[in-house]
Symmetry: C2
Subunit: 556 residues, 2 copies
């Protein structure tokens, strides 16, 4: 069987100019990055803005398990299949972080015959967006430390700097560091830490900003530190929002690539969904909506994280809610939620499947509670038995939700046409009545409690003393009505990664709040959510290579 990279390298790519023509873009509308990648500039985006929005399909999933769910694969395959049945469709995905690529997860370009290409480029440096974000983030750190070094006119308290440095790598040794050592010429010693780039507030800003002016305003609003008097210090106070925006001037433009089947795909922006808001950029999704009749996009991790943030944080910025939500599940993963170990997933187990369905059921109810129709997509595996499929269909039917199987990994567009027809039919026949899960004007406490009780199914929230103090202070700063971005494990509906299925009677502890005023939300940290992953004992990097002719080896 061919690997993903072998399949991708066997495809004869179509020049991106021709892909762009499918959605009405001319060569002049593109900034080419080689023959197969392009950025879309603002004049083109503005020109398209007059058109009507297409239909929006949000793909999400159950809580991920080591069995794999294949959300990106279904997103891509569904887009290909919609095109195949005659719907002019554009895909909108996040771009991968190099950290997981070099670590254990691999890339984020789909799999099998449902991939976005060129997968090597997208998974490595792509058009440099991640690097620009890393650079802007760290330039801000350097300018901040330099301000202190050069006399500290703003009276920044070095103990109260909340802006961290970043690298787009998994590097645990950088989680907690001390910088500025070596005497008075080498800066002010202080505690610092590095996050992974995709956890940077600048990534969130890039994904929410609608133009350069909005970008600058948001950058300017970033709170980086507090003074000795505890007054917030912003990027605007340091007067460097212009320099940061300059560094980001190309990164903010959406990237256009293609799938194996030549479907246009915007791959742009990539905040993690467990520590950030987990969706691709508003600019890319908006542009896709203007250029396609149907847009398939995904939100990170399970529907409790990515989809909740898509619906409560991104939609108000996008000014367009999904017309249908597709929840991806696999029989294998549901069996894991039902208690089966990874080694025994190949054995039929109706009881475990039925038990593990509780996880999918909760996500279905959650998504329906936003007033949007739901379709369940079963991502088929060779080990699925006929009885298991029948049982899952029955469970979904009992829940009043449409279910459809797809085999796009193996069969590409052909494997997704049934799902595509179902999704198109739901869009044509059902109406949406989108509303956020919480009122815009609710307090941070109310918003967090709503998410925990309604979405996670928890009994309540326990706030640490630190979080309670912060909520009080945030009132004084006028930050107490912002949306909340939950930082929580992706593996469970609760804050305990080991609690699979649909746990109940649990309390979620809010350890700390992190203001992301530029992004426009407050991050609520639960438990020990890592903002910098580590590498495994055998990192994927050990298998990577490049041949004399430049062919990439070992990416997946």
């Amino acid at each position: 069987m061919k690997t993903d990279i072998e399949i991708s390298q066997s495809v004869n790519l179509t020049p991106i100019k021709e892909i762009a023509e499918k959605i009405g873009l001319k060569e002049n509308d593109l900034e080419l990055y080689g023959n197969y990648k392009a950025k879309i500039d603002f004049p083109t985006i503005q020109k398209a803005a007059e058109k009507e929005d297409g239909h929006l399909i949000l793909v999400t999933s159950i809580n991920p398990t080591p069995a794999g769910e294949g959300k990106s694969t279904i997103t891509i395959g569904l887009g290909d299949a919609l095109n195949k049945i005659g719907k002019k469709t554009v895909i909108a995905l996040r771009e991968p972080s190099l950290g997981p690529v070099m670590g254990i997860k691999g890339g984020a370009t789909g799999g099998g015959y449902a991939q976005v290409l060129p997968m090597e480029d997208i998974n490595l440096h792509f058009t440099g967006d991640m690097h620009a974000i890393t650079t802007a983030n760290n330039a801000l750190s350097a300018l901040l430390d330099n301000h202190i070094q050069q006399g500290n006119e703003l009276a920044i308290d070095p103990r109260r700097i909340i802006w961290k440095r970043v690298v787009d790598l998994n590097d645990r040794a950088l989680r907690q560091v001390v910088v500025g050592l070596g005497g008075p010429l080498q800066g002010m010693p202080r505690q610092d830490g590095f996050d992974i780039t995709v956890a940077s507030e600048i990534m969130a800003i890039l994904c929410l900003a609608t133009n350069i002016e909005d970008l600058k305003t948001r950058l300017s609003n970033i709170v980086v530190a507090y003074t000795f008097e505890k007054t917030p210090i912003t990027v605007g106070d340091l007067q460097v929002e212009g320099a940061l925006a300059l560094i980001l001037k190309d990164a903010i433009k959406p990237n256009l690539v293609q799938t194996i089947y030549g479907t246009p795909a915007f791959v742009h922006g990539g905040p993690f969904a467990n520590i950030a808001h987990g969706c691709n950029s508003v600019l890319a999704t908006k542009t896709a909506l203007k250029l396609g009749d149907y847009v398939v996009t995904e939100a990170g991790f399970g529907a409790d994280l990515g989809a909740e943030k898509f619906l409560d944080i991104k939609v108000p910025n996008l000014k367009k809610s999904p017309d249908v939500i597709v929840i991806v599940a696999t029989i294998r993963a549901l069996k894991m939620h039902g208690g089966v170990k990874k080694e025994q997933l190949n054995e039929e187990n109706i009881e475990a499947l039925t038990h593990g369905f509780s996880n999918l059921k909760k996500h279905i109810e959650n998504m329906q509670s936003y007033g949007i129709p739901v379709v369940v997509a079963i991502n088929e595996f060779i080990s699925d038995t006929k009885q298991e499929i029948t049982q899952l269909e029955a469970l979904c039917k009992k829940q009043g939700v449409i279910v459809e199987s797809a085999s796009v990994w193996e069969h590409g567009a052909d494997g997704g046409t049934a799902l595509a027809k179902t999704v198109a039919s739901v869009i044509e026949n059902e109406t949406t009545n989108y509303h956020s899960i919480y009122p815009v004007g609710a307090s941070l406490e109310e918003k967090i409690e709503t998410i925990v009780t309604k979405i996670y199914g928890g009994a309540g929230v326990s706030f640490s003393q630190k979080a309670i103090n912060q909520m009080k202070t945030f009132e004084d700063y006028g930050w107490d009505r912002l949306p909340v971005c939950m930082a929580k494990t992706q593996y469970s509906l609760s804050d305990d990664p080991k609690a699979l299925g649909a746990p109940s009677n649990f309390t979620v502890t809010i350890r700390e709040l992190v203001p992301k005023i530029g992004a426009g939300f407050i991050v609520a940290l639960t438990g020990d959510v890592m903002t910098m992953p580590g590498l495994p004992k055998q990192p994927a990097a050990l298998n990577m290579d490049v041949l004399e002719d430049g062919t990439a080896v070992g990416l997946f």
Copy 2:
């Protein structure tokens, strides 16, 4: 008067496809990065390899002063002027580091009417080479720390790790840091530090490697640490040279851009010349030599640093020595070498000029000692008086060296035709007899002593006890016959930045040796040469901005 960026933005750029046609490249030979930047792939480089080398012109300068010398400007203007007088010329330059761009120095794309374009792109992210090098460097750090964390099979001594992390920024707070804090799950606590990316050994390797195989071999040879038994640990021991090469697979390909006059310019690789070898990549220079009849290239800082390293480190890898060396000087800078303060440079001062000529004289003698003809180029300033010019011409004549003025900053190609004719005439009429300043087989001690006494004009070398011990150990490791890369202040021929002109009777102290086995040389650290610059009180970043239409503001 227009600023550099205003001049550059007023130019109607020619599509890079058409620029490439001038040197026999077709669109298929290019990897486009937008309409005005391209990379040249290996098949194209290999195809060109069969051609004969063109003539090589190396541009260097006196020791830099705050008055400015304009070496890049002359390099670009000379290339434009050679084309104007009918010589098919290609320029080969280094690419800028973002650190100085955001700090105080500004970009490195020339000035006035002698610029490479698009200057905003080249000075910001360009084609991502710096980011790829940063990423490869830091991926290696992460993999190294992960190896220790995951059991340390190779028995790496955390106190003896010599591989540092990098950022492509001026960030003094990162010079000395402690990483791995926070307990056993966050890595092994140890001292570390960040260099600027252009000081990374990976930058040096990228600039010396001739193909992917050579790149992998060099990466594999990098020494990153020593074991508890003091055995060197290489990238090959960690088995990650393939992953690093994969990260660098596009960065290693030369970048093609254009000057204001449409001269093809390879801008690729950019190691600093005070802490690294200071020349653009061998691959770019070699490709330029195959495609142009004349190639103008430059080496960093003064001839004591950049040109010495070009001649003793790069030439053996390039397998081609310069046909002529152009030494750039300004009357203002020579007056500073003669003791005049910056505020008084506008006043005529024949005596100071005559005194300061000692610096130029020493560089002329040095360059001639390599067996290569020398031309002095006076980069004209409005404050130069006729008498000063006459005096400088007389001093050069006395030295038996041809001198020619140029005003390419103000007049572009027209301002450089006299210099171009002189340079072309020297190439046509004079012969070269290149030889390295030291025998390949000499010891490190002999090589360092030769450079200090013959090139710097010093009385001798004082080695610290540490350096003496290292030389002994390096013999055991078989590193004792490698070329030497001096790390020295650029401001003086000596190791004292305040000793202008041509100091004598000084001793240079070698503090420490740093093995760069992948690059293939040993760095000798004199005094306190910084491998990570700091930002000034008013960084250039404070004046940067980007307009709503994407126009860059404040780059220089």
